[in-house]
C-alpha cells in the first residue's frame, strides 16, 4: 500500500492532476494548464459594457459626469487611430448607460470619421447608421450589443487589411478609457464593493503580452513604445489580492494613471 501511495503521490506531483479517489476533492486544473490557457483579446478581455454592468449592480453611477470633451479625429499614425477607436467605443458604452441619444450619435460619427482614416469604413459605416437609428429610438439594450459588434467589425476590417496587429490596440484603448471612467466614478463616490471591481490582473498581463508580440514597426511607433511602462504601473494597481480592497487613495491613483495614459493617447503628435 505504501508503495502504491508513493507512486501515486509522485505521479500526481508530476502531472498536477489530483486524485479522483472518492475521499478527494474534484480535480484542479494544474498551474501548467492554466499557464497554457488560450487567450484571445476578443474573447478573454471583457467589453467596457461588462464593467459598467457590474458597477450598475452596486451603485447608480452618473455616467454623464465621466464624459470627456470631443477628441481629435485627424491622426496620421495608424496605431494612434486604433487606440482612439477603442477609446471612442468605450465612450459609446458610457453614453448608452447614460441613455443619452445625442451623445451616442456624436460618438458614432467620430467612430466613423476615425475608421475612414484607416480605410475601413464600409461595414463600420453600416454599424454607425444602426447606432444612430437605435439611439433615435432609445433602444438602449440593443445599442450595447451594437457597440460590441462595432468593435468586432472594426477588428475584422483591420484583419482583412492585414492590419491585424492594430486590433490589440483597439481593445487596449477601450479598456484604458473604460478604466479611467469607472475609476473616476469610484474615486469620487467611494465604496468598498465598487473598489473591489477594479481587480483585473489577467487583462493587463494579456494585453502587455500582445503588445510585446506586435511587429517591430508597430512596437517602434513613438506612442506604442511609451505604453508598456505605464501599463506595467497600472497592472500593479489592479493586481491586488482577492481578499484586499483598494483604498480611495488607491483608486484615485489608478484614475490618475489611466487619465494620463488617455491624454497621451489622444494628444496629437
Amino acid at each position: 500500500m505504501t508503495v502504491w501511495r508513493c507512486i501515486l503521490t509522485g505521479l500526481l506531483a508530476l502531472t498536477g492532476v489530483h486524485a479522483w479517489a472518492a475521499d478527494q476533492p474534484v480535480p484542479k486544473l494544474a498551474p501548467a494548464v492554466l499557464a497554457q490557457a488560450v487567450t484571445d483579446d476578443s474573447f478573454s478581455v471583457p467589453t467596457p459594457g461588462e464593467l459598467l454592468a457590474a458597477l450598475n449592480k452596486v451603485g447608480k453611477p452618473n455616467w454623464q459626469a465621466q464624459y470627456r470633451p470631443p477628441i481629435p479625429t485627424a491622426y496620421t499614425s495608424r496605431p494612434q487611430i486604433a487606440l482612439n477607436l477603442g477609446g471612442l467605443i468605450a465612450d459609446g458604452y458610457l453614453a448608452v448607460e447614460a441613455e443619452d441619444s445625442q451623445q451616442v450619435k456624436n460618438i458614432g460619427k467620430d467612430i466613423i470619421t476615425l475608421a475612414k482614416t484607416l480605410g475601413i469604413s464600409e461595414n463600420v459605416l453600416k454599424r454607425g447608421r444602426s447606432i444612430e437609428d437605435f439611439a433615435e429610438n432609445n433602444e438602449w439594450s440593443t445599442l450595447k450589443e451594437e457597440l460590441d459588434a462595432t468593435q468586432n467589425e472594426v477588428k475584422l476590417a483591420m484583419d482583412e487589411q492585414q492590419d491585424e496587429e492594430l486590433t490589440t490596440l483597439v481593445t487596449l484603448g477601450g479598456w484604458i478609457r473604460g478604466t479611467q471612467a469607472v475609476s473616476g466614478w469610484i474615486a469620487s463616490n467611494y465604496t468598498e464593493p465598487e473598489a473591489k471591481l477594479l481587480r483585473q490582473p489577467g487583462i493587463l498581463a494579456l494585453l502587455r503580452a500582445k503588445l510585446a508580440a506586435l511587429p517591430v514597426r508597430t512596437r517602434e511607433d513613438d506612442l506604442v513604445k511609451g505604453l508598456d511602462p505605464r501599463l506595467q504601473a497600472i497592472q500593479e494597481m489592479v493586481s491586488f489580492p482577492v481578499t484586499a480592497t483598494p483604498t480611495q487613495a488607491d483608486v484615485k491613483k489608478l484614475n490618475d494613471a489611466a487619465g494620463e495614459l488617455v491624454t497621451n493617447i489622444t494628444s496629437k503628435r
Binding site: 501515486l8 479522483w20 492554466l34 449592480k57
Partner: protein, 150 residues
C-alpha cells in the same frame, strides 16, 4: 481502496503520457463545421438572451480530438451573472464545459447539458481571471463557444 488507488494511478499515467493539450481556433475564415456549431450555440444562448443576458459578440471555435481539452481564459467582474455556452457541429458529438477559478479550483456552476450542447452559468464573487475547460466526451468534434452576461 486499492482499486481506487490503482485507477487513480492509471489515470495519472495516462494524463502524464498525453500531457495537457490545447486546441486553437483558426484565424482563417470559419469552416462549415464551425459555422454549424456557431449556429447551434447561438440557438442555445438565445434562451439566456430571453432572460435579459447580453450576448457577447464574438466566439471561440476549434476542433477537439478524442480525449483532448481546451482551456480558455476569460476575465470576469464580480456581481455580473454569466452563461458560458458551447456546441459541437454534430449531434452525436457530446461536449462538456466547466469553469475554474484562477487557482485552478472548479467553480460551482448551474449546468445545462443537451447532447451536443452544454452551458455553465454562475456569478463570480470576485473579479479576475477564470478558465473555461471544454472537453469532448469520446469523439472528435468541432466546437464553438460563446458567452452572455447581465
Amino acid at each position: 481502496m486499492k482499486s481506487i488507488l490503482l485507477r487513480a494511478t492509471l489515470m495519472s499515467v495516462m494524463a502524464l503520457a498525453l500531457g495537457p493539450r490545447v486546441g486553437y481556433a483558426s484565424a482563417d475564415a470559419p469552416t462549415d463545421a464551425e459555422v454549424e456549431a456557431h449556429k447551434d450555440v447561438l440557438d442555445l444562448a438565445g434562451a439566456f438572451t430571453n432572460d435579459g443576458f447580453k450576448l457577447r459578440d464574438g466566439y471561440y471555435a476549434g476542433t477537439l480530438k478524442t480525449g483532448q481539452l481546451v482551456v480558455i481564459q476569460v476575465n470576469l467582474y464580480a456581481g455580473n451573472e454569466y452563461w458560458f455556452s458551447v456546441a459541437t457541429a454534430k449531434p452525436e458529438s457530446a461536449v462538456t464545459i466547466a469553469v475554474y477559478d484562477e487557482t485552478g479550483n472548479l467553480v460551482k456552476t448551474n449546468p445545462y447539458t443537451d447532447a451536443h450542447r452544454a452551458a455553465a452559468g454562475f456569478s463570480p464573487d470576485n473579479s479576475g481571471p477564470f478558465y473555461l475547460k471544454i472537453a469532448d466526451t469520446g469523439a472528435p468534434a468541432t466546437y464553438c463557444t460563446i458567452y452572455s452576461y447581465k
